[in-house]
């Protein structure tokens, strides 16, 4: 896998801020810090400040990310309406997850999904790829991403474990819900300016056989313990903005939980309503059987009730399959975000601890502050910058996602009522026709 600074795409653009090694990745392969920022001619007009070379502060490597994220912010605000996941720049990596298939082997049964990629990026040898992956593979990818990009928020995966007795892992509904979540996950990663350039993602999307290293679990644990060393430090003062983030996440998570409970309650009530409604329709049918003139009207009413039942079923299904999973996924997302915040705290704590120690030593025997401490400071600043950038992006996406989710919910409800109304209206025309028929025959 080639590692190097991304070269600019062949389009008009400015000189890029590139080739800055990510400070935190000193222990691993250096990864590219920034997404290609090609500002098209149109956007130039809207951001005169940048194109005219307004002086920017590029005093520390961290600012690079800040600059990039600021550019992203402006671009994305405009692109919001059209591109829910978009970063506003022309997208050059498209991924899709679809086509679930069941595989039966002697050891186990599992589902694979087709992962299709279309891209113009140079990091990819071919413009198109199509591979099959299973949930395990997605899990592997996520862990890899988290390990290699600890300062970035990695989108969540749908729940890993399902109670075998309770949920049918191979039912169409379950597979479909999971597939949609996996698709979302991959799209979010692909849209992330940093994560999308991760070589593990590349491997995931392109390799025929994902050569997951043995002792995957061990590796994960090792990675964690490395970080835990840093966790021995106590954090002095968390900057206010990160406190605010933490609080926001807590409250938001709570509210989502409430919404989840309310939605489930509504589903339960709707289901009971549906049961009664079906019986109700049946009585009208039974009545119709013993009537002559009233038979058709009564059958008509029974029919309308049945139609309403069907429409209600659709509504409920939609809520449970499309609405609730997204809610739950956001709760997972929030957990991820909280984790990242915690990691940031740890990094800051480590820095503060080392700094304190170094200062003390300096006072004692005039040892200069070691480079490591400075490196720590860089780490902290970088983390903070990355986090803030990701936070902004996360907020934007959240806004889009919930807008979509809630308008979708409203739409489904409107659909339900429309179907029901149409049925009843056609019944009225039927009944009134009959009425005028009878009246004219009376007066004749």
């Amino acid at each position: 896998m080639s590692v190097g600074a991304p070269r600019g795409l062949a389009s008009s653009g400015q000189k890029l801020i590139t080739e800055i090694l990510h400070p935190l990745s000193a222990a691993e392969e250096p990864l590219s810090p920034g997404h290609d920022v090609t500002i098209s001619a149109e956007k130039d007009k809207q951001e005169p400040g940048l194109t005219n070379g307004t002086p920017l502060e590029i005093s520390s490597p961290a600012s690079a990310s800040v600059l990039i994220s600021r550019l992203q912010l402006d671009c994305e605000l405009e692109a919001d309406a059209h591109d829910p996941f978009g970063s506003g720049e022309p997208r050059d990596l498209f991924v899709t997850v679809d086509d679930p298939k069941k595989h039966v082997s002697t050891m186990e049964t599992y589902i694979t999904y087709r992962v299709s990629t279309k891209t113009t990026r140079i990091e990819f040898d071919l413009p198109e790829y199509s591979v099959r992956r299973r949930y395990q593979d997605f899990d592997w990818l996520r862990i890899k991403l988290e390990d290699s990009q600890p300062t970035h928020l990695v989108p969540p995966l749908p729940e890993k474990f399902v109670m075998k007795g309770v949920v049918d892992r191979f039912s169409e509904e379950f597979v479909d819900t999971r597939m949609k979540a996996l698709d979302k996950f991959l799209k979010r990663v692909a849209d992330h300016p940093v994560l999308s350039f991760n070589p593990h993602l590349n491997a995931f999307l392109t390799a025929k056989d994902l050569n997951k290293r043995q002792g995957l679990a061990l590796l994960t644990k090792v990675g964690e313990s490395v970080k835990n060393v840093a966790g021995g430090y106590k954090l002095r003062a968390r900057p206010a903005e990160f406190c605010a983030m933490g609080e926001y996440l807590d409250t938001f998570s709570q509210k989502l939980g409430t919404i989840d409970r309310i939605s489930q309650r509504i589903l339960r009530e709707q289901s009971e309503y549906l049961t009664e409604l079906r019986e109700y329709g049946a009585v009208y049918s039974a009545w119709a059987a013993s009537e002559e003139q009233l038979q058709r009207p009564l059958e008509g009413v029974a029919g309308c009730v049945t139609t309403s039942c069907g429409a209600l079923e659709d509504l409920s299904d939609n809520m449970s399959q499309d609405f609730l999973p997204v809610l739950r996924e956001y709760v997972l997302y929030i957990e991820s975000m909280k984790n990242v915040l915690r990691k940031r705290d740890q990094v800051q704590a480590e820095y503060e601890g080392r700094l304190e120690a170094a200062v003390l030593r300096k006072q004692e025997d005039r040892t200069p502050i070691p480079v490591e401490v400075e490196k720590c400071q860089d780490k902290v600043e970088c983390f903070n910058a990355d986090l803030k950038a990701d936070w902004e992006r996360w907020q934007r996406n959240k806004r889009q996602d919930f807008k979509q989710l809630l308008t979708g919910m409203a739409d489904k409800n409107i659909n339900y009522y429309e179907k029901s109304q149409a049925a009843w209206e056609s019944l009225i025309t039927l009944l009134q026709e009959k009425q005028t028929e009878d009246k004219t025959s009376d007066t004749n």
Binding site: I266, S290, V301, Y417
Partner: protein, 533 residues
């Protein structure tokens, strides 16, 4: 009012129908109405009057001019449809039918799907009225209000009960700017309505007497009160009682009943008047017919199938009402839980910046949605009441069928009795014993009776036979008359039922459409708010 010098009223009345009435004329007419009431009362109480000797005044051209009569009163010009009681008249109702205007009967406004169910119910009432009984042509009837009273009951205990105000006023022409005549009013309690109905049931056993609204609230869903003093229940009962009176007033036979007329017009003396009719005695026979277990050999097949039909109808409507109550309960739950969205959206909006406003307003719409179910379900109660009326009607139908069976049974018994006697006579005359009897055997064994004895027996039998034949003839005639009258009313009832139930279904459909429209409205509003997030 133009003076009347002769007893002829034709032509003059037609002319009156064209003209408008002044207040003075209205007042005079009101006075005449009162006078007429007094006259009728007097007749009902058995006083001979110079009017027709029949207890119920009928229209006769020979009626002395100074006494008001039906024909005179009938000329309260074009019949005004009964507008929805008290102040709720809507513009729709002004389109209502004018009977006597010669226009084809149309139940207006059904095409307008915004009509509420109360209005639709009034369409039914108005339809009844358009058939134009004599009573309805001359007076408007309404149960305008309800009130609470306390008093001592039969066991001398204080009790609180509800009374209902019955208003009657002359059917007036539409006068421009004229104030309507003040109505005659009196107060009645539910038990008096019951007494009236019992009287009618007994007096007209071949008529399907309209039912009263339920005494106690049944088929309630949990939010609805089962308390008789609950204002919503009282209000629905008021409507039901009015409906009852209008059904009576538009019945071709019952509307002419004097006791009914007194019920509407005489507050004080009514109870005595009812008891005076002596209907209690007949009440026993009716009770007998209802509870008796007897087997009829040859019932009229139409009655049998009608009885079965009404049993089926009763079952199915009961089922429907029960399930409807459960459905209402569930629907209530669904709507109300949505109110929780309102609260959580509001709380959530507090921590959001750009999304806050949209969420907050959407939350309000969710509250509106949750609150809307109360009105929706209240309206549905009207539908339930319409169904209940027909549920109770089935009882009346069954009682008519039972009465027929009783008469038929008596007829069969009389015939059987007669044929037995004839056989006996034949036996005695010919000496053959066809019917085994102990008496016959003993007399054979222990000696014949003397010829004189036998002759007197035969004579007695012949007498008995003659009486029996007379009785049979009577019974036959009674049965035939009953069947004819009953079947007449049954046909009328069938037509009424078909029409009313179809109207009820239409109004139910309209309610459903209205509910859907409201739902769409609220969710569209919420969607707009979400879009602004």
């Amino acid at each position: 009012m133009n003076g009347r010098t002769d007893g002829q009223t034709d032509g003059w009345m037609d002319r009156q129908m064209e003209e408008d009435w002044t207040d003075g004329q209205m007042e005079r007419m009101g006075t005449m109405l009162l006078l007429r009431q007094r006259l009728v009362t007097a007749q009902a109480l058995g006083f001979r009057t110079r009017c027709s000797p029949k207890p119920h005044p009928t229209i006769t051209p020979s009626t002395p001019p100074y006494l008001p009569n039906l024909e005179l009163l009938r000329f309260f010009s074009v019949m005004r449809m009964r507008i929805a009681s008290s102040a709720d008249s809507s513009s729709n109702n002004s389109q209502m039918i004018m009977a006597d205007s010669g226009s084809s009967d149309e139940v207006a406004v059904i095409c307008n799907t915004d009509i509420t169910s109360t209005e639709s119910e009034n369409n039914i009432i108005n339809t009844m009225v358009e058939r134009g009984t004599a009573l309805l042509k001359k007076m408007e009837i309404s149960v305008a209000e309800a009130d609470k009273r306390t008093g001592k009951n039969t066991v001398n205990m204080q009790e609180t009960y509800t009374v209902y105000l019955i208003e009657t006023r002359p059917a007036e022409s539409v006068s421009e700017g004229g104030t309507p005549v003040a109505p005659d009013t009196l107060w009645r309690r539910y038990s008096e309505f019951e007494l009236l109905r019992t009287y009618l049931l007994v007096t007209y056993p071949y008529i399907i007497v309209p039912p009263l609204p339920e005494k106690r609230a049944e088929f309630v869903w949990h939010k609805l009160s089962a308390d008789n003093l609950d204002p919503d229940f009282v209000e629905r009962r008021r409507v039901g009682l009015e409906n009852f009176l209008l059904r009576l007033a538009s019945h071709p036979v019952l509307s002419n009943d004097n006791i009914f007329f007194l019920f509407l017009t005489e507050e004080k003396g009514w109870r005595e008047a009812v008891l005076e009719t002596g209907f209690q005695d007949k009440a026993d026979s009716r009770l007998k017919s209802l509870s008796a277990m007897f087997r009829v050999k040859n019932p009229d097949k139409r009655f049998t199938s009608l009885k079965h039909y009404s049993e089926d109808l009763s079952t199915v409507i009961s089922q429907l009402l029960r399930i409807r109550a459960r459905v209402a309960d569930r629907l209530y739950g669904v709507y109300k839980v949505h109110g929780n969205y309102g609260r959580v959206f509001s709380e959530w909006s507090a921590i959001e910046k750009e999304m806050g406003d949209g969420l907050q307003s959407a939350g309000h719409h969710m509250d509106t949605y949750a609150a809307s179910i109360d009105d929706i379900l209240e309206e549905e109660e009207h539908y339930a009441d319409q169904l209940k009326e027909y549920l109770f009607y089935t009882e009346a139908v069954r009682s008519v069928c039972k009465k027929h069976e009783l008469i038929q049974y008596e007829l069969e018994m009389a015939a059987q009795d007669l044929s037995y006697k004839k056989q006996q006579k034949e036996e005695l005359e010919t000496g053959t014993v066809r019917i085994f009897s102990l008496k016959g055997m003993t007399s054979k064994l222990f000696g014949q009776e003397t010829p004189e004895q036998r002759e007197s027996k035969v004579a007695a039998l012949e007498q008995s036979i003659q009486e029996g034949e007379g009785a049979l003839k009577e019974k036959n005639a009674e049965s035939q008359e009953f069947v004819e009258k009953a079947w007449n009313d049954i046909e009328r009832f069938k037509e009424q039922k078909e029409k009313d139930l179809r109207e009820a279904l239409i109004s139910y459909a309209i309610m459903q459409i209205s509910m859907c429209k409201k739902g769409i409205q609220v969710w569209s509003n919420a969607k707009e708010c979400f879009n602004k997030m």
